[in-house]
Amino acid sequence: MISDKQLKQIVEAAIFAAEQAVTVDQLLSGALANFSLNRPRIRQVLDQLQDDYRERGVQLVEVASGFRFQTRAELGPALANMWPERAPRYSAALLETLALIAWRQPTTRGEIEAIRGVSVSTQIMRTLQERGWVKVVGHKEVPGRPALFATTKEFLDYFSLQSVADIPALAEPPEPDTRERDMIEVLNSENGTN
Protein backbone atom coordinates (compact mmCIF):
# COMPACT_ATOMS: atom_id res chain seq x y z
CA MET A 1 0.00 0.00 0.00
CA ILE A 2 1.49 3.29 -1.11
CA SER A 3 1.58 6.14 1.40
CA ASP A 4 0.07 9.55 0.64
CA LYS A 5 3.53 11.07 0.77
CA GLN A 6 4.97 8.63 -1.78
CA LEU A 7 1.91 9.01 -4.00
CA LYS A 8 2.23 12.80 -3.93
CA GLN A 9 5.91 12.57 -4.83
CA ILE A 10 5.25 10.26 -7.78
CA VAL A 11 2.39 12.41 -9.10
CA GLU A 12 4.45 15.59 -8.74
CA ALA A 13 7.49 14.05 -10.42
CA ALA A 14 5.41 12.51 -13.22
CA ILE A 15 3.80 15.83 -14.11
CA PHE A 16 7.15 17.60 -14.07
CA ALA A 17 8.85 14.91 -16.12
CA ALA A 18 6.08 14.58 -18.72
CA GLU A 19 6.54 16.53 -21.91
CA GLN A 20 2.88 17.52 -22.07
CA ALA A 21 0.06 18.12 -19.63
CA VAL A 22 -0.96 14.88 -17.90
CA THR A 23 -4.48 13.62 -17.28
CA VAL A 24 -5.60 11.53 -14.29
CA ASP A 25 -6.00 8.56 -16.64
CA GLN A 26 -2.47 9.00 -17.96
CA LEU A 27 -1.18 9.04 -14.39
CA LEU A 28 -3.10 5.86 -13.59
CA SER A 29 -1.86 4.00 -16.64
CA GLY A 30 1.65 5.49 -16.49
CA ALA A 31 3.63 6.36 -13.40
CA LEU A 32 1.02 4.77 -11.11
CA ALA A 33 0.42 1.64 -13.19
CA ASN A 34 1.91 -0.65 -10.53
CA PHE A 35 -0.40 0.54 -7.78
CA SER A 36 -4.08 -0.15 -7.64
CA LEU A 37 -5.45 3.32 -7.08
CA ASN A 38 -8.76 4.93 -7.88
CA ARG A 39 -9.43 8.26 -9.55
CA PRO A 40 -10.81 10.02 -6.41
CA ARG A 41 -7.54 9.32 -4.58
CA ILE A 42 -5.50 10.83 -7.45
CA ARG A 43 -7.81 13.85 -7.58
CA GLN A 44 -7.33 14.30 -3.85
CA VAL A 45 -3.54 14.18 -4.22
CA LEU A 46 -3.69 16.67 -7.09
CA ASP A 47 -5.77 19.01 -4.91
CA GLN A 48 -3.19 18.74 -2.13
CA LEU A 49 -0.37 19.45 -4.57
CA GLN A 50 -2.23 22.49 -5.92
CA ASP A 51 -2.51 23.73 -2.33
CA ASP A 52 1.16 23.08 -1.65
CA TYR A 53 2.14 25.17 -4.66
CA ARG A 54 -0.36 27.98 -4.10
CA GLU A 55 2.24 30.44 -2.79
CA ARG A 56 5.08 29.32 -5.04
CA GLY A 57 6.52 30.75 -8.26
CA VAL A 58 5.38 27.62 -10.07
CA GLN A 59 1.77 26.48 -9.91
CA LEU A 60 0.01 23.22 -10.61
CA VAL A 61 -2.67 24.17 -13.13
CA GLU A 62 -5.38 22.14 -14.83
CA VAL A 63 -5.77 23.06 -18.49
CA ALA A 64 -7.80 21.44 -21.25
CA SER A 65 -5.36 18.58 -21.84
CA GLY A 66 -4.59 17.83 -18.20
CA PHE A 67 -2.40 18.98 -15.34
CA ARG A 68 0.89 20.78 -15.74
CA PHE A 69 3.19 23.04 -13.80
CA GLN A 70 3.45 26.57 -15.07
CA THR A 71 4.98 29.77 -13.76
CA ARG A 72 2.71 32.34 -12.13
CA ALA A 73 1.19 34.71 -14.69
CA GLU A 74 2.35 37.74 -12.62
CA LEU A 75 5.97 36.69 -13.14
CA GLY A 76 5.67 36.97 -16.93
CA PRO A 77 7.36 40.40 -17.24
CA ALA A 78 10.30 39.37 -15.04
CA LEU A 79 10.79 36.03 -16.78
CA ALA A 80 10.46 37.55 -20.24
CA ASN A 81 13.77 39.35 -19.63
CA MET A 82 15.51 36.00 -19.78
CA TRP A 83 15.09 35.90 -23.55
CA PRO A 84 16.03 38.57 -26.06
CA GLU A 85 13.00 38.02 -28.29
CA ARG A 86 9.63 39.35 -27.20
CA ALA A 87 6.54 37.16 -26.96
CA PRO A 88 4.25 37.70 -29.94
CA ARG A 89 1.42 40.19 -29.46
CA TYR A 90 -1.73 39.31 -31.28
CA SER A 91 -3.82 41.94 -33.09
CA ALA A 92 -7.39 42.77 -32.15
CA ALA A 93 -8.49 41.34 -35.50
CA LEU A 94 -6.79 38.01 -34.79
CA LEU A 95 -8.16 37.77 -31.26
CA GLU A 96 -11.66 38.65 -32.47
CA THR A 97 -11.49 35.96 -35.13
CA LEU A 98 -10.24 33.48 -32.56
CA ALA A 99 -12.89 34.45 -30.00
CA LEU A 100 -15.56 34.19 -32.69
CA ILE A 101 -14.49 30.71 -33.76
CA ALA A 102 -14.31 29.62 -30.10
CA TRP A 103 -17.83 30.94 -29.50
CA ARG A 104 -19.64 29.86 -32.68
CA GLN A 105 -17.70 26.71 -33.52
CA PRO A 106 -17.92 24.88 -35.77
CA THR A 107 -18.23 27.89 -38.01
CA THR A 108 -17.43 28.95 -41.54
CA ARG A 109 -15.43 31.80 -42.96
CA GLY A 110 -18.69 33.32 -44.22
CA GLU A 111 -20.19 33.42 -40.73
CA ILE A 112 -17.02 35.01 -39.35
CA GLU A 113 -17.19 37.67 -42.03
CA ALA A 114 -20.89 38.29 -41.42
CA ILE A 115 -20.34 38.99 -37.74
CA ARG A 116 -17.11 40.93 -37.94
CA GLY A 117 -18.23 42.86 -41.03
CA VAL A 118 -14.78 42.46 -42.60
CA SER A 119 -13.43 39.93 -45.02
CA VAL A 120 -11.43 37.30 -43.12
CA SER A 121 -7.73 37.82 -43.55
CA THR A 122 -6.00 34.78 -45.06
CA GLN A 123 -2.94 35.67 -43.00
CA ILE A 124 -4.92 35.51 -39.76
CA MET A 125 -6.46 32.15 -40.62
CA ARG A 126 -3.04 30.80 -41.54
CA THR A 127 -1.51 32.03 -38.26
CA LEU A 128 -4.35 30.51 -36.24
CA GLN A 129 -3.92 27.17 -37.96
CA GLU A 130 -0.11 27.22 -37.82
CA ARG A 131 -0.25 27.85 -34.09
CA GLY A 132 -2.54 24.83 -33.85
CA TRP A 133 -5.32 26.86 -32.22
CA VAL A 134 -7.84 26.40 -35.00
CA LYS A 135 -8.42 23.49 -37.32
CA VAL A 136 -10.83 22.40 -40.02
CA VAL A 137 -13.19 19.83 -38.53
CA GLY A 138 -15.41 19.27 -41.55
CA HIS A 139 -17.36 20.96 -44.30
CA LYS A 140 -20.78 22.52 -44.17
CA GLU A 141 -23.26 20.74 -46.43
CA VAL A 142 -24.27 23.85 -48.36
CA PRO A 143 -23.25 24.94 -51.86
CA GLY A 144 -19.48 25.40 -51.99
CA ARG A 145 -19.02 23.09 -48.99
CA PRO A 146 -17.19 25.72 -46.91
CA ALA A 147 -14.72 24.48 -44.29
CA LEU A 148 -15.96 24.40 -40.71
CA PHE A 149 -13.43 25.81 -38.24
CA ALA A 150 -13.14 24.87 -34.58
CA THR A 151 -10.73 25.65 -31.76
CA THR A 152 -8.35 23.01 -30.35
CA LYS A 153 -7.07 21.88 -26.96
CA GLU A 154 -3.78 23.58 -27.81
CA PHE A 155 -5.69 26.86 -27.97
CA LEU A 156 -7.18 26.28 -24.51
CA ASP A 157 -3.80 25.21 -23.11
CA TYR A 158 -2.07 28.28 -24.51
CA PHE A 159 -4.58 30.59 -22.85
CA SER A 160 -4.52 28.52 -19.66
CA LEU A 161 -8.18 27.54 -20.03
CA GLN A 162 -10.07 24.36 -19.31
CA SER A 163 -12.91 25.23 -21.67
CA VAL A 164 -14.24 28.09 -23.77
CA ALA A 165 -16.83 28.69 -21.03
CA ASP A 166 -13.99 30.00 -18.85
CA ILE A 167 -14.17 33.18 -20.95
CA PRO A 168 -17.22 34.89 -19.40
CA ALA A 169 -18.26 36.74 -22.56
CA LEU A 170 -18.24 33.51 -24.54
CA ALA A 171 -19.83 31.32 -21.87
CA GLU A 172 -23.36 31.85 -23.24
CA PRO A 173 -23.88 29.93 -26.48
CA PRO A 174 -24.81 32.11 -29.45
CA GLU A 175 -28.47 32.52 -30.31
CA PRO A 176 -29.24 30.47 -33.37
CA ASP A 177 -29.40 32.39 -36.59
CA THR A 178 -32.95 33.55 -37.27
CA ARG A 179 -33.04 31.59 -40.51
CA GLU A 180 -31.79 28.50 -38.71
CA ARG A 181 -34.34 29.09 -35.98
CA ASP A 182 -37.14 29.32 -38.53
CA MET A 183 -35.90 26.10 -40.09
CA ILE A 184 -35.84 24.36 -36.70
CA GLU A 185 -39.40 25.55 -36.06
CA VAL A 186 -40.51 24.23 -39.42
CA LEU A 187 -38.84 20.89 -38.75
CA ASN A 188 -40.36 20.71 -35.26
CA SER A 189 -43.87 21.45 -36.55
CA GLU A 190 -43.45 18.81 -39.27
CA ASN A 191 -42.38 16.28 -36.68
CA GLY A 192 -45.35 17.27 -34.54
CA THR A 193 -47.87 16.52 -37.27
CA ASN A 194 -46.36 13.14 -38.15
Binding site: A18, A102, S119, P174, T178
Partner: protein, 277 residues
Protein backbone atom coordinates in the same frame (compact mmCIF):
# COMPACT_ATOMS: atom_id res chain seq x y z
CA UNK B 1 -6.13 29.69 -10.56
CA UNK B 2 -7.66 31.92 -13.19
CA UNK B 3 -7.97 35.59 -12.45
CA UNK B 4 -11.42 36.82 -13.44
CA UNK B 5 -10.79 38.97 -16.50
CA UNK B 6 -11.50 42.63 -15.94
CA UNK B 7 -14.58 43.70 -17.85
CA UNK B 8 -14.45 47.22 -19.16
CA UNK B 9 -17.87 48.10 -20.45
CA UNK B 10 -17.64 51.86 -20.77
CA UNK B 11 -13.96 52.71 -20.63
CA UNK B 12 -12.53 50.63 -23.44
CA UNK B 13 -9.35 52.15 -24.72
CA UNK B 14 -9.91 53.15 -28.28
CA UNK B 15 -6.55 51.81 -29.17
CA UNK B 16 -2.89 52.06 -28.34
CA UNK B 17 -0.72 54.82 -29.71
CA UNK B 18 2.94 53.99 -29.07
CA UNK B 19 1.94 51.76 -26.17
CA UNK B 20 -0.28 54.39 -24.51
CA UNK B 21 -4.00 53.59 -24.33
CA UNK B 22 -6.18 56.15 -26.07
CA UNK B 23 -9.49 56.74 -24.32
CA UNK B 24 -10.54 60.04 -25.71
CA UNK B 25 -11.28 61.35 -29.11
CA UNK B 26 -11.42 64.98 -30.30
CA UNK B 27 -14.86 66.39 -29.61
CA UNK B 28 -15.75 67.23 -33.17
CA UNK B 29 -15.22 64.98 -36.06
CA UNK B 30 -12.23 66.81 -37.40
CA UNK B 31 -9.23 64.54 -37.02
CA UNK B 32 -5.81 65.31 -38.44
CA UNK B 33 -5.05 62.87 -41.25
CA UNK B 34 -2.10 61.30 -39.38
CA UNK B 35 -4.27 60.67 -36.33
CA UNK B 36 -6.97 59.12 -38.47
CA UNK B 37 -4.48 56.71 -39.89
CA UNK B 38 -3.66 55.55 -36.36
CA UNK B 39 -7.35 55.34 -35.53
CA UNK B 40 -8.02 53.23 -38.57
CA UNK B 41 -5.60 50.70 -37.20
CA UNK B 42 -7.29 50.92 -33.82
CA UNK B 43 -10.63 49.80 -35.25
CA UNK B 44 -10.71 46.18 -36.27
CA UNK B 45 -13.49 46.78 -38.77
CA UNK B 46 -16.75 48.62 -39.53
CA UNK B 47 -18.61 46.84 -36.72
CA UNK B 48 -15.96 48.06 -34.30
CA UNK B 49 -16.35 51.64 -35.54
CA UNK B 50 -20.13 51.41 -35.36
CA UNK B 51 -20.00 50.03 -31.84
CA UNK B 52 -17.63 52.83 -30.85
CA UNK B 53 -20.01 55.47 -32.22
CA UNK B 54 -22.98 53.98 -30.39
CA UNK B 55 -21.06 53.77 -27.13
CA UNK B 56 -19.82 57.32 -27.50
CA UNK B 57 -23.46 58.39 -27.54
CA UNK B 58 -23.96 56.27 -24.42
CA UNK B 59 -26.80 54.54 -26.20
CA UNK B 60 -28.08 51.02 -25.84
CA UNK B 61 -27.59 49.00 -28.96
CA UNK B 62 -31.28 48.11 -28.81
CA UNK B 63 -32.26 51.77 -29.34
CA UNK B 64 -29.88 52.04 -32.26
CA UNK B 65 -30.07 55.77 -33.11
CA UNK B 66 -29.78 55.12 -36.79
CA UNK B 67 -29.96 58.71 -38.07
CA UNK B 68 -27.15 60.40 -36.09
CA UNK B 69 -25.03 57.27 -36.19
CA UNK B 70 -25.31 57.01 -39.95
CA UNK B 71 -24.34 60.66 -40.31
CA UNK B 72 -21.26 60.27 -38.13
CA UNK B 73 -20.31 56.99 -39.72
CA UNK B 74 -20.45 58.51 -43.19
CA UNK B 75 -18.19 61.35 -42.14
CA UNK B 76 -15.63 58.87 -40.82
CA UNK B 77 -15.83 56.81 -43.96
CA UNK B 78 -15.38 59.86 -46.15
CA UNK B 79 -12.22 60.70 -44.29
CA UNK B 80 -11.03 57.14 -44.60
CA UNK B 81 -11.88 57.11 -48.25
CA UNK B 82 -9.44 59.94 -48.88
CA UNK B 83 -6.65 58.15 -47.06
CA UNK B 84 -6.93 54.43 -47.34
CA UNK B 85 -9.10 53.36 -50.17
CA UNK B 86 -8.45 49.64 -49.98
CA UNK B 87 -9.32 49.54 -46.30
CA UNK B 88 -12.49 51.54 -46.77
CA UNK B 89 -14.17 48.86 -48.87
CA UNK B 90 -15.56 46.89 -45.91
CA UNK B 91 -16.57 50.17 -44.29
CA UNK B 92 -18.42 51.22 -47.45
CA UNK B 93 -20.53 48.05 -47.33
CA UNK B 94 -21.62 49.04 -43.84
CA UNK B 95 -22.25 52.59 -44.97
CA UNK B 96 -24.51 51.30 -47.72
CA UNK B 97 -26.38 49.16 -45.23
CA UNK B 98 -26.85 52.09 -42.84
CA UNK B 99 -28.06 54.28 -45.67
CA UNK B 100 -30.54 51.62 -46.68
CA UNK B 101 -31.89 51.29 -43.15
CA UNK B 102 -32.06 55.06 -42.82
CA UNK B 103 -34.04 55.44 -46.04
CA UNK B 104 -36.43 52.69 -45.05
CA UNK B 105 -37.03 54.33 -41.68
CA UNK B 106 -37.72 57.65 -43.38
CA UNK B 107 -40.35 56.11 -45.63
CA UNK B 108 -43.89 55.99 -44.28
CA UNK B 109 -44.78 52.50 -43.07
CA UNK B 110 -47.98 50.62 -43.52
CA UNK B 111 -49.69 49.48 -40.36
CA UNK B 112 -49.34 45.83 -41.34
CA UNK B 113 -45.59 46.25 -41.53
CA UNK B 114 -45.19 47.20 -37.89
CA UNK B 115 -44.06 43.74 -37.05
CA UNK B 116 -40.89 43.67 -35.00
CA UNK B 117 -39.30 41.29 -37.49
CA UNK B 118 -39.70 43.93 -40.16
CA UNK B 119 -37.84 46.67 -38.31
CA UNK B 120 -34.95 47.27 -40.70
CA UNK B 121 -32.69 47.79 -37.71
CA UNK B 122 -33.35 44.33 -36.30
CA UNK B 123 -30.76 42.51 -38.37
CA UNK B 124 -28.10 45.15 -37.71
CA UNK B 125 -28.88 45.10 -33.97
CA UNK B 126 -28.53 41.31 -33.95
CA UNK B 127 -25.19 41.56 -35.70
CA UNK B 128 -24.02 44.33 -33.39
CA UNK B 129 -24.91 42.32 -30.30
CA UNK B 130 -23.08 39.32 -31.64
CA UNK B 131 -20.11 41.45 -32.52
CA UNK B 132 -20.16 42.96 -29.04
CA UNK B 133 -19.88 39.47 -27.53
CA UNK B 134 -16.99 38.63 -29.83
CA UNK B 135 -15.21 41.90 -29.10
CA UNK B 136 -15.64 41.38 -25.36
CA UNK B 137 -14.53 37.78 -25.71
CA UNK B 138 -11.43 38.81 -27.62
CA UNK B 139 -10.49 41.30 -24.91
CA UNK B 140 -11.05 38.77 -22.16
CA UNK B 141 -8.98 36.31 -24.14
CA UNK B 142 -6.21 38.89 -24.30
CA UNK B 143 -6.39 39.32 -20.51
CA UNK B 144 -6.11 35.59 -20.04
CA UNK B 145 -2.63 34.39 -19.03
CA UNK B 146 -0.87 33.49 -22.25
CA UNK B 147 1.88 30.96 -22.66
CA UNK B 148 5.26 32.57 -23.48
CA UNK B 149 3.83 36.03 -22.71
CA UNK B 150 2.68 35.53 -19.11
CA UNK B 151 3.69 32.05 -18.11
CA UNK B 152 6.02 29.26 -19.03
CA UNK B 153 5.42 25.55 -18.63
CA UNK B 154 7.62 24.01 -15.96
CA UNK B 155 9.40 20.74 -16.42
CA UNK B 156 12.00 18.73 -14.55
CA UNK B 157 14.92 16.71 -15.84
CA UNK B 158 14.50 12.98 -15.56
CA UNK B 159 16.66 10.12 -16.77
CA UNK B 160 13.75 7.72 -16.34
CA UNK B 161 13.47 7.38 -20.11
CA UNK B 162 17.13 6.33 -20.38
CA UNK B 163 16.53 3.67 -17.76
CA UNK B 164 13.50 2.41 -19.62
CA UNK B 165 15.43 2.34 -22.91
CA UNK B 166 18.41 0.40 -21.54
CA UNK B 167 18.91 -3.19 -22.68
CA UNK B 168 18.39 -5.58 -19.82
CA UNK B 169 21.63 -7.46 -19.05
CA UNK B 170 21.82 -11.06 -20.29
CA UNK B 171 20.78 -13.48 -17.57
CA UNK B 172 22.84 -16.64 -17.10
CA UNK B 173 21.62 -19.90 -15.65
CA UNK B 174 23.86 -19.27 -12.68
CA UNK B 175 22.19 -15.88 -12.07
CA UNK B 176 18.83 -17.53 -12.18
CA UNK B 177 19.93 -20.17 -9.72
CA UNK B 178 21.26 -17.49 -7.43
CA UNK B 179 18.03 -15.55 -7.66
CA UNK B 180 16.07 -18.65 -6.86
CA UNK B 181 18.32 -19.32 -3.91
CA UNK B 182 17.65 -15.82 -2.65
CA UNK B 183 13.94 -16.31 -3.07
CA UNK B 184 14.17 -19.56 -1.17
CA UNK B 185 15.98 -17.76 1.60
CA UNK B 186 13.34 -15.07 1.61
CA UNK B 187 10.63 -17.67 1.82
CA UNK B 188 12.54 -19.29 4.61
CA UNK B 189 12.90 -15.98 6.43
CA UNK B 190 9.22 -15.22 6.17
CA UNK B 191 8.11 -18.73 7.02
CA UNK B 192 10.51 -19.51 9.84
CA UNK B 193 7.84 -21.44 11.65
CA UNK B 194 7.95 -24.08 8.92
CA UNK B 195 10.60 -26.44 10.15
CA UNK B 196 10.68 -28.38 6.87
CA UNK B 197 11.87 -25.37 4.90
CA UNK B 198 14.58 -24.75 7.43
CA UNK B 199 15.85 -28.26 6.79
CA UNK B 200 16.10 -27.59 3.09
CA UNK B 201 18.30 -24.49 3.16
CA UNK B 202 20.52 -24.28 0.09
CA UNK B 203 23.30 -22.61 2.01
CA UNK B 204 23.19 -25.34 4.56
CA UNK B 205 23.10 -27.97 1.84
CA UNK B 206 26.12 -26.34 0.24
CA UNK B 207 28.01 -26.72 3.50
CA UNK B 208 27.00 -30.33 3.70
CA UNK B 209 28.20 -31.01 0.16
CA UNK B 210 31.51 -29.30 0.84
CA UNK B 211 31.82 -31.19 4.09
CA UNK B 212 31.32 -34.52 2.35
CA UNK B 213 33.81 -33.59 -0.36
CA UNK B 214 36.43 -32.69 2.24
CA UNK B 215 36.32 -36.25 3.45
CA UNK B 216 36.73 -37.94 0.07
CA UNK B 217 38.66 -36.92 -3.00
CA UNK B 218 35.74 -37.03 -5.35
CA UNK B 219 32.18 -38.21 -5.39
CA UNK B 220 29.82 -39.37 -8.07
CA UNK B 221 27.32 -36.56 -8.79
CA UNK B 222 24.46 -38.95 -8.02
CA UNK B 223 25.85 -39.77 -4.58
CA UNK B 224 25.25 -36.17 -3.48
CA UNK B 225 21.48 -36.67 -3.67
CA UNK B 226 19.38 -38.31 -0.99
CA UNK B 227 16.29 -39.61 -2.80
CA UNK B 228 14.50 -40.13 0.52
CA UNK B 229 14.27 -36.32 0.92
CA UNK B 230 11.87 -36.20 -1.99
CA UNK B 231 11.71 -33.76 -4.86
CA UNK B 232 12.28 -30.66 -2.72
CA UNK B 233 15.42 -32.11 -1.21
CA UNK B 234 16.80 -33.08 -4.63
CA UNK B 235 16.13 -29.59 -5.95
CA UNK B 236 17.90 -28.02 -2.99
CA UNK B 237 20.89 -30.31 -3.43
CA UNK B 238 21.06 -29.50 -7.13
CA UNK B 239 20.86 -25.77 -6.42
CA UNK B 240 23.57 -26.15 -3.81
CA UNK B 241 25.83 -27.87 -6.34
CA UNK B 242 25.18 -25.18 -8.96
CA UNK B 243 25.82 -22.53 -6.38
CA UNK B 244 29.07 -24.11 -5.21
CA UNK B 245 30.19 -24.50 -8.80
CA UNK B 246 29.44 -20.89 -9.52
CA UNK B 247 31.32 -19.72 -6.47
CA UNK B 248 34.32 -21.75 -7.63
CA UNK B 249 34.31 -23.95 -4.54
CA UNK B 250 33.76 -27.19 -6.44
CA UNK B 251 34.39 -28.45 -9.92
CA UNK B 252 32.28 -30.81 -12.00
CA UNK B 253 34.31 -33.23 -14.08
CA UNK B 254 33.12 -35.49 -16.86
CA UNK B 255 35.59 -37.57 -18.83
CA UNK B 256 33.38 -37.93 -21.87
CA UNK B 257 29.82 -37.25 -22.93
CA UNK B 258 27.12 -39.15 -20.96
CA UNK B 259 29.72 -40.61 -18.61
CA UNK B 260 29.68 -40.24 -14.84
CA UNK B 261 29.99 -36.68 -13.52
CA UNK B 262 32.43 -36.43 -10.64
CA UNK B 263 32.29 -33.68 -8.07
CA UNK B 264 35.39 -32.55 -6.24
CA UNK B 265 36.58 -29.60 -4.20
CA UNK B 266 38.40 -26.99 -6.23
CA UNK B 267 41.72 -27.20 -4.28
CA UNK B 268 41.92 -30.95 -4.72
CA UNK B 269 41.27 -30.54 -8.42
CA UNK B 270 43.92 -27.89 -8.81
CA UNK B 271 46.47 -30.22 -7.22
CA UNK B 272 45.61 -33.01 -9.65
CA UNK B 273 45.51 -30.82 -12.72
CA UNK B 274 42.63 -32.75 -14.19
CA UNK B 275 40.91 -30.98 -17.10
CA UNK B 276 37.68 -29.50 -15.89
CA UNK B 277 34.51 -28.74 -17.69
Amino acid sequence: MLEPPVTEQHSLPLGFVRGEPMFDRPDDLYIPPEALELMLEAFSGPMDLLLYLIRRQKMDILDLPILPITKQYMEYVELMHELKLELAADYLVMAAMLAEIKSRLLLPQLASEEDEELDPRAELIRRLREYEVVREGAQQLDHQPQQERDFFVGSAFTDAQDIAAQEPPAVTLADLSLALARVMQLVKAQAHHQVMREALSTRERMSRVLERLSQVKRLDFVELFDVSEGKAGVVVSFLAILELNKEGLIRLIQAEAYSVIYVSRYEQLAQEETPAL
